[in-house]
Structures are given as C-alpha cells and as structure tokens.
C-alpha cells in the first residue's frame, strides 16, 4: 500500500498536503478544508486502512517473534505462492502479536463486506484449503476458526463467536495492546488512523509541560518496569532540575527470563511507544533521547528503526515538531546482554560506553543522569500508556484499577498453563482469574502448584494467595513484586528448591560484582542449594552433611543481609526466590534436607533409579549404555541397578525401549 503522504506530495495531484495538515485531516479537525476530490480520495484511502472498505481481500499474518518461531514465515510464503499460482488478488499484511501465543500461527482474513475472521494454528498445509474455502467460496474453515471481529459488515459468517467473547480475551482489557496484532506495525498510517499521534498533537497545541505532568500525576500512572514509582512525580523532578540539556531514556532491556511484554509492544505497536516518549520529552524539556533495547530482539530493533525514520518524515521527530518550535532527537542503543543494565544507573553507564554497573543513589538520575545531566528513564510499557492518558483524559484512566494502582498491566503468561500468551488486565484482577480464566488452567489434568511473578526478583506464590487482587502493594505484602510482568505457572512436577536454584544460578552469573553482599552472597546461597540437591556422591561424608545443615541454618540470615546491604535493585531482591519459596514451600526444603528426597522428582541426584522386573526383557541395552557399570543382570533376564554405583545420569531410562526403568 502506498502511503497517503507519498500520494499527496507528488506534483501530479496538483495539491500538496503537509505532514501537519495530514495529522489534522486524519483526526478530522474541522479547521482543514480540502478540495472535494481530495477529500473523497482520502475517505477511500482511510477506509482501506481500517479494512472497512476493501476492493480486494486482506490476509493478515501474525509475524511477531512467537509467530515466526511457530512457522509464520513459511505460512506467509505458502500464501504468496498459492495466490500467485491461483492468480488471486489479495493483500498480504504482516502484523505483530495478538497475544495468543498458544494458538500461533494466527492468520486473519478480511474480505470486502465480511467481518474479519481469525484462524489459529495455521500451517502451510492449510493454506490452499483456506484460500479455496474462505477467499473463493466465502465459507469459514470451521475447525481452525478462533473468532471474528465484527464492524457492522453486510455479510456474516454464520454463528461464529466474536473474538472478544472467547475465554482468553473475555476478561482482558486491551488499552496498551489495542493495536498489537491488529495493525501493520510498519505502516505509520495504520497507527495514525487508530488515533495515533493525536495525543502528541494535542499536547503541542494546547498543553503546557506542567499540564501534562499534572495530568500524568492525576492519572496515577506508576512505572511498569517493576518499582512502581509514580511516573508523573519522576517527570516533575526532572522538569524542576536545572540543566542546559536533559535526556529521556526508554528502558527496553527486558532481561527478565520469562517476560516478553516489551518485545511484543515494540514489535506490534512501536509508534505508540515513540509517541509516549515524545510527549514525555516535551513535558520534561528533553531534547535528546535513547531507546535502550536488547540486542536479542532483532525484530524489535528493525521495526524501531523504521518507526523512527517514518516519524521523522511525518514531522513527529526532529526539529520543530509539528511547527511547535519543540525539537527532539531519538536514537536506538543496542544493549549487549547484561541483566543488571535494567537498573537505571547501570543502564546510564552502559549508554556512556562503560561497564554497566550501578552507582549509589542519590543523586537520582532526574538530577544527575546521563553525562551528568537530568535524565528520565521509563519502561516501554509506561511510555505506551501515555498517549491514551492524554487522549482519553486522566479521570478516565484513573477510573481503571485499584486505589493505589491505576490502569492496566500486561503480563506474559507462560509455563505449565494451557493458553500461553500476552495478557492485559485491569489492575485489581486476581492471579486466579489470569491463570484459570484467561490461561485456561493447567494442562494434562495436573494440579496448580505455584506461580512465579516478577521474574528472578519476584517470588513464587502458592494457591492460598492467588485470590489477592494484583496491585503493587498487595504483591509486596504476599512476598512478591510486580516486576516487569512475567508470570510463569508451575504444576506439581516442578521442584521449588530446584526453581530457587535456577534463579540463583541466573542472579549469580548476572551480578555485576561491584558490591560484596551480592557478588559473594549469591554464590554462597547457590552453594547451599546445590548441596541440598546434588551431593549424592558425598552422601556418607559427615563433613558434607554438616555443611548442608549449616547452610540451611544460616540461609535466611544470609538472604536478609544481602537484601539490606546491597547497592542496587538487583542485589536487594537477589534473595527473593529463596525467601518466597522458604515462606510458602518450606516442606520441600525439609524433604530435601532431612529425607534426602525430591518430592517433585526433579532433583535427579536425589532419585533412585529402579528397574521394573516385570517389564524388563533383559535386552542388555541399558547395561551397555550405563557409563558407571551400575546395571547388572543376565541376558534375557530382568536386570538390576546397583544404587551405590549409579550416577543418576538417566541414560538407561532414555535407552530403554520397554519403559521398564522408573524413578523413586
């Protein structure tokens, strides 16, 4: 599709539309009058953008990272080939992620005068059938239908459900994610038509920086990166700081394992984040900004680059934005892979080209930040909230959520849950609603055991507390934190000691090494857990047993020392995985410590491998494979495992063709 701006800046039209005018037109400002012919053409163009009126079918394919990981590229190629072969005219449009990762690859088809229909789990094999049934015969392919998006079209698909009524979407409230998976993120006009950059235009024309800050404070927006600091306050401090130059930074260093909200936003609706940043820059008086994005997100970076170039071309970035006299330059900085760089002072050091190590605060970045100048750092999701606050008003925004936490929050739901995906719910929704209503519960008929919220800095919560309404304060009270929004669900096959060990491994290797409690303390914590789960070789060594008990006796004290004496957020929360699992799953630690067994059957070295003598055929395969020569037996007769020789490597279990080997 050719861009409108491009169409109307060509001389043949005899009429030129400037970017500023274009924004006015698209948002139906009464001040702009157009020649009738141009107005008509514009209406036609915008109805194509919203897919309201089409002259040919549009095929919209979810091509975020998760879609691509599920094979969206081959589906795209299959469509391209099939359309060419059948000589069928249709538009192929890649979009971001609609959030329902479990159902990827998702393909939406919009036919002229039919509601947009969404298909799930599409493979290249389905493509010819889809084209034949839906594109040619105008029938739905029922077994693949996810739902439809009606906009009052003439024709109907029969009794298919509206997408907003299916359980995964029902209790969600899509404010920040409204465009993700709906628009083509690389097409700026599609963002504009969804009232994009309207907020920016409004603040530049009618609001002072102080108005904006007051509005963000009134809306009650709090930082979505984890800490929950009131965004408006932060801006106010930066506004009041004196300095010849101020900076604005978007923290897109989403290093938290199990979280992918920022990635989805940057891939699915990058203009929204950029608009939020420009408004913030105007409010605090920043003239230069950076988006610090993980290099592990190549697609997000690629789209951001295009977004910045387009925004500049339309006059939303650069010098004299929309003729307001305000100038703002925005650059992308690629992170180089360090979890601690999510901490604001470490991130600043990284942009300055140094090792990303935190420094003590105060002074806070709002007074002394990047290159010593006042700097505001906000998270991707925080910025993405700004345009809608300006557009719909602070009162509207403040009406969503709880007393202390306003608006919505995006969570990345994953782990042992049926509907893995990206979920946006109002603050105050309970974890149970997210896991069971949106997430569809635990697969394979297993039991819910715990949910890890807030990544390595958060905590694992058991069933007894998942009815708590989510907000910043409530989560802190039950021993977790909002964090960036990763929700990893676990069932009874997850060992909580092993989980704590997993997080300690992560934190230990990501500790920057600057201060001792974190650098040495996390290593000692890890060793304690390691002894609990892995010391079978020294089972009978009294000194080893003593160390094991000693470690557990002091583990809480050590954890508290790390929490209270570390310099930065990473260190202060480093012990949380252990503290929260100890609080709610102490019995599992006790089983590992006193009984030397792992109730979930995860910690391999505490397991005993045995052979079911009824099933064993004596094929000798396991005995040959065993590296420790721990399996004995005569050919064609049941074999046995010598427990004291066994190294619990599990090779025998993988080799056995008769499922005769089991663990206890």
């Amino acid at each position: 599709m050719k861009e409108f701006l491009e169409l109307y800046q060509s001389k043949e039209q005899g009429f030129t539309i400037t970017p500023d005018m274009f924004v006015d037109i698209i948002h139906e400002s009464p001040e702009v009058t157009l020649p009738p012919k141009t107005a008509q053409e514009l209406r036609e163009y915008t109805s194509q953008l919203t897919f309201e009126k089409l002259d040919k079918p549009a095929i919209i394919i979810g091509m975020g990272t998760c879609g691509l990981a599920n094979g969206a590229q081959s589906v795209y190629d299959a469509f391209q080939e099939a359309l060419k072969k059948g000589n069928i005219e249709a538009m192929l449009i890649p979009t971001g992620c609609v959030g329902y990762c479990a159902e990827e690859v998702i393909v939406d088809i919009k036919l002229p005068d039919y509601p947009r229909i969404s298909y799930s789990k599409v493979t290249p094999k389905d493509v010819p059938t889809l084209i034949e049934k839906t594109l040619i015969n105008h029938e739905p392919l029922r077994e693949k239908v996810l739902g439809i998006y009606s906009q009052g079209e003439k024709n109907s698909w029969g009794d298919l459900p509206e997408i907003s009524t299916i359980p995964f979407f029902k209790i969600q409230k899509k404010i920040v994610l409204e465009n993700c998976g709906v628009i083509d993120p690389e097409n700026i006009d599609q963002y504009l038509i969804k009232r994009g950059y309207e907020g920016l235009q409004r603040v530049l024309k009618t609001m002072t920086p102080e108005d904006i800050i007051a509005s963000v404070i009134e809306a009650g927006l709090r930082g979505r990166g984890g800490g929950g600091f009131p965004t408006g306050q932060k801006w106010k401090f930066a506004r009041q700081s004196s300095g010849d130059k101020k900076y604005l930074i978007c923290n897109a260093d989403e290093g938290d394992p199990g979280a992918f909200m920022d990635r989805a936003l940057l891939e699915g609706d990058p203009h929204r984040v950029v608009e939020g940043m420009i408004i913030a820059a105007y409010a605090i008086g920043a003239t230069e900004g950076f988006i610090y994005c993980r290099a592990e997100y190549p697609l997000a970076i690629k789209r951001l680059k295009k977004t910045l170039a387009d925004a500049e071309r339309y006059g939303f970035l650069g010098d004299n934005i929309l003729n307001s006299g305000f100038s703002f330059k925005l650059k992308i900085k690629e992170g180089a892979g360090a979890f601690v760089c999510g901490e604001e002072t470490a991130l600043i050091h990284s942009i300055e080209g140094k090792r990303g190590m935190p420094r003590p605060r105060p002074p806070y970045p709002t007074t002394e930040g990047l290159w010593g100048k006042p700097t505001v750092i906000n998270n991707v999701e925080t910025f993405a909230n700004i345009p809608v606050i300006i557009r719909n008003g602070a009162t509207w925004y403040a009406s969503i959520g709880t007393e202390t936490s306003k608006g919505t929050k995006i969570f990345a739901l994953s782990g042992k849950v049926k509907n893995v995906g990206l979920v946006e719910v109002p603050m105050g929704t309970t974890l149970r609603q997210i896991i069971f209503d949106v997430g569809g519960g635990i697969p394979e008929g297993r039991q819910f055991k715990a949910v890890q919220i807030g990544g390595p800095s958060g905590g694992a919560l058991p069933e007894s507390v998942i009815d708590t309404p989510i907000d910043y304060e409530n989560l802190k009270e039950i021993g977790a934190m909002m964090g960036s929004g990763g929700l990893v669900v676990m069932d009874e096959t997850t060992c909580m000691v092993d989980l704590a060990k997993f997080f300690m491994t992560f934190i230990m290797s990501e500790s920057c090494g600057k201060c001792i409690p974190c650098r040495e303390g996390t290593k000692r914590l890890y060793e304690t857990l390691e002894r609990l789960t892995q010391s079978y070789k020294n089972e009978n060594d009294p000194e080893e047993a003593l160390l094991r008990f000693q470690g557990m006796v002091y583990i809480e004290r050590l954890a508290n020392v790390i929490t209270t004496t570390s310099l930065c957020g990473l260190g202060q929360t480093a012990a949380n995985p252990i503290l929260s699992t100890l609080r709610y799953f102490r019995d599992e630690y006790e089983a590992h410590l006193y009984e030397r067994r792992c109730p979930a059957g995860v910690c391999k070295e505490l397991l005993t491998y045995k052979i079911n003598t009824d099933k064993c055929t004596g094929c000798t395969l396991c005995a040959i494979k065993c590296p420790a020569e721990a399996i004995v037996g005569e050919r064609k007769k049941a074999h046995y495992i010598l427990s004291d020789k066994c190294t619990r490597c599990g090779q025998c279990m993988m080799t056995c063709n008769f499922d005769a080997i089991y663990v206890e």
């Binding site: 990272t65 990981a69 599920n70 979280a259 690629e334 180089a336 782990g415």
Partner: protein, 151 residues
C-alpha cells in the same frame, strides 16, 4: 563492510561509542580478535584494559570464533520448568563441549540465553536463527545428526 569503514563510521576519541563499535566488529568477524581490540582502544582513546573490561562484562561479546552452527539454548523460566536444563546437558554431551564453547572442528557452538520470548513452544533452541520448539532429548539427537550430515 570492510574493517576501515567500520572505524570510519565512528568519530574518534568518543568513549560512548565503544559498545556500538565493538558490536559492529563482532558482526563482521563473528568474534572480537585481539588485534582489533587494540585498534578499538586506540580509536576511542581508552587503555586496552578498559576495553577488555567492557568486553568481558557483557554476555554478547566473544573473544573466540564461533562454529558454523550456533546452538542457542533458551534458559528462561518457562523453558526451565519444561526441562531446558536436560536439553542443554544432552546437547553438551552429544557435542562434548560445554555451553559457551565451540567444537574443535569449528562446526558447533553452544550458547545459553536468558529468554527468547518464544515461551509458548518451550523448551526452545535456536540454530542459526531457526527456532525449534517443544524439544525432548531424543529430538535433540536427531537435530544434531542432521546438522552433522549437512557438514
């Protein structure tokens, strides 16, 4: 891009350009050769020790060349609860190297990453940009065999 044009794109004596410059060099060579690091130090005006400090701080930078097949094993939380450690151990024992190393024939490298955001198909590995999800130790064996056959 040749070596000189990489340096030309960055104005000299600006220490804030150190990380992007290193990223570009690694993009070109696949790793950071020692002689290049010396040139970088000269270019940005920092002692080599400081450059080395930055290189070893960030996970992205490598001081050794990579293999032809780069296997990235996701060690995010969702992958972990679905058995990614087992996957990693299997790959390590199949190839006889540890995560972070490259085989002697320069065919395989193993890396771990914190999260690739493809949690819906956990456990996930990425081989040269292609995603493989829902893996078991047995399917790993097959994947590696395929790579070896292709050489």
């Amino acid at each position: 891009m040749n070596e000189q044009s990489i340096f030309d794109a960055y104005s000299p004596k600006d220490t804030s350009l150190l990380i992007p410059l290193l990223q570009d060099i690694q993009e070109e060579y696949g790793y950071l050769p020692e002689d290049q690091l010396e040139k970088v130090a000269d270019h940005v005006g920092l002692p080599l020790s400081r450059v080395y400090g930055v290189v070893t701080f960030y996970n992205q930078f490598r001081l050794k060349p990579l293999g032809k097949y780069v296997i990235k094993v996701c060690r995010g939380t969702a992958c972990h609860v679905k058995g990614s450690l087992e996957i990693l151990r299997t790959i390590e024992s199949e190839l006889g190297i540890k995560a972070g190393d490259t085989t002697k024939d320069l065919l395989f490298s193993i890396e771990t990453v914190a999260c690739m955001g493809a949690c819906s198909i956990a456990p996930v590995i990425v081989i040269n940009g292609n995603y493989y999800g829902g893996l078991t130790p047995k399917s790993i064996h097959k994947l590696i065999k395929q790579c070896k056959e292709r050489g």
